[in-house]
Amino acid sequence: MLRFATWKIIAILALTLAAVLVVVPSMLAPASVKALENALPSWAQPRTIVLGLDLQGGSYVMLEVDKASVLHTQVTNLRDDVRRILREEKVAITGGIGAQARGVQLRIPDAAERAKVLPKFRNLAQGFGAKIGGAPPLEVRDSGDGLVQIVVTDSGVTDKVRHAVDQSIEVIRRRVDALGTREASIQREGDDRIIVQVPGLQDPEQLKTILGQTAKLEFRLVAEPGQSPSELEELEQADQSGKIAIEKQVMVQGEDLTDAQPGFDQQRGGEPVVNFRFNIRGAQKFGEVTSKNVGRLFAIVLDNKVISAPRILQPITGGSGQISGHFTVEQANNLSILLRAGALPAKLDIIEERTVGPGLGQDSIDAGKRAAYVGAGLVVVYMLITYGVFGIFANLALFVHIAFIFAGLVLLGSTLTLPGIAGIVLTIGMAVDSNVLIYERIREEQHGGRSILAALDAGFNRAFATIVDSNVTMFVAAAILYFLGSGPVRGFAVSLALGILTTIVTAVTMTRMMIAIWYHYARPTRLPI
């Protein structure tokens, strides 16, 4: 018990020193950290603890791809493809092409004609992203009596949804970057979800506005009297002034945009507008449409809402134009961000949102610190008055224990949340348990008439098995919390697990070392415990 190899002592001290060094930058003011970064070589850059959104303020948003809208797009595309094939092969059908929830159906009475187009329908699967060996995304059902059904399969839907998530992540990244926030994290979650976390955002509403919009931009002509209703549809106006009849045919699409910037229109008294620029294809189409339709109203449609419908005064051939619609500066800014980043492939729903203002975050940090100081202070005093000199050892071990937890958090890059602070405060209470177990055992053995050395030895050895058993159970609980919890609860689990792991080192080995050294110099005749 009392022979403690010098190298062990050095190793423990070195480990402690390393832990303290790792933790120090997190305790400094941001300015000092900057200074430290500049002063230190690249391999020794300080790392600070990552604060959770509940502590530093910010927004957590979970988005889900709207499966119905993905499917709707697929069915619409499918219908167009089928119509194209029928036209190419000059095949006659009775009735129209009926749209169903999962696909289309049509009736081809002639068996020979059916045989001609069915393989072509089956080939559509390739354009649908069929993979070799994978389940087919499309299924063509021929009931034999002329009815043909083309259905998107489950695997086809899943595939498209996954694909939509991938594309959406890209679009969202561009949009969030354009907001000018750093360190945003955008991750896929499961098959159909995306988690966006933006720390320290001043205006979370703007984030949501920007995430929630599909931003599908179209230029379409406004209806003129005498047009057949089958070519038209009624669309809502963005300023809620009612509906307006618009041609179904899309003249130019937002995907041909190369740039969009907010600006001010001097002719309209400095009203905020959005200036845009087309690529060559877009410019050409835009020039063509505006030349042919001078004098007509040209509607700018965003997500099926008419933003504005200015009159075409002259052909616009330069490939650039302007969207005006009684915007505020912020709206013009948001719209240009959306247009630059492109359209989302599908509608995204915000299914969970947690936003913490920076003020509340700071309050939580302050409260957490206060609780930790008071808690640690009380425990330290209590250990001291209960165990005297042994209490000092336990307290030193407790201090190192806390340093280890924080160093662990820094090195793992794990996030410190408010429940995480609670976990640390709780571990402060729990950490001394191991010391208490050991000390009480030593007392007991000494009372039982053992010599000092035998009592110390028995105390450590007997208590160790108990410490392991009791900590393993606690660790199991922490591990399960980690795997099943989300966000802040995970932070709690990490703090707790780190606390339990480091207990073994600090409460057992470190305390043992300190007692060994103390014994060597004090040579007590009776343990003061």
């Binding site: 915000i350 409260a367 009480e440 159970t473 922490a478 399960i480």
Partner: protein
Amino acid sequence: MKLLRLAPENTKFPFMRFRRVSYPFSAVLSICSILLFIFSGMNFGIDFAGGTVIELRAKAGQAEIATLRQTIEKLELGDVEVQSFGNQSDATVRFGPQKGGDSAQQAAVEKVRGSVGSDYELRRVEVVGPRVSGELVQSGTLGVVLSIVAVLTYLWFRFEWQFAVGAVIATMHDLLLTVGFFSLTHLEFNTTSIAAILTIVGYSLNETVVVLDRIREMMRKYKKMPTDQMIDLSINAVLPRTIMTATTVFLALFSLAIFGGHVIRSFSLAMIWGIFVATYSSVFICSPMLIYLGLRNEDADKAPEATPSKAAAKATTRAKPKAA
């Protein structure tokens, strides 16, 4: 220097005699907890119920709860709860999931912001959709069940089966009483509360294991002693440690409850109750269970070396059994 001792030395408290009181007592409390849970239910936070919580702070010093309530009730968001908390300038607004799906939820927040935004700062906004809350309920329940199963397995390997059963019954008892506590106090039950419950499960098992460890040791040391006496002796031996540890944890938790801020308060209060119950159950529920489960049957008495672990071997060779 005179050191402080909370627990008197060498106690000979006959804990096992109390099993005739503690069992009916705990049974009544457990049944009350179940009844409370069924009839009064829990104050589920939006994590589990879905809905929206908005925390507001008045820009002009004092929050006018009545005016705020009127303003927000006009928005027709269903059942709206407006409460003050913390200091005078803070208030929370809470309402359930909106008809019309996820976008309606977002629109509702927008409406609240629009109507109070000029006078109040929105400090925290949480919106949880109905599907997400369902998933959180699932994973929460799964977590509690899994942790009990995992620990049971561990204990089964490390101890005799009676110990594992005793530990699990004690843990279930603590769980029930914690659920009862949440029902009774109407403290908000959310994902952080699940963390509290799992920590209580962990602590409860921690306590139980410490006591059981000592019982196992004593069992090997004093083979002829009647089981209830032997258990009493064990509990008395670990009593100073039990009291000491409970006190340090309470010190930490009380400072969390008092100084840790309102976000963490329901967590701290639940933990305080849980630690109390866990300490009680390790002594009065788990340990007597060993007697009922017939821990030391004839076989064990005849062949104690059947499980010749290292510790057992040491205990039998070194210790000179003192008759109690």
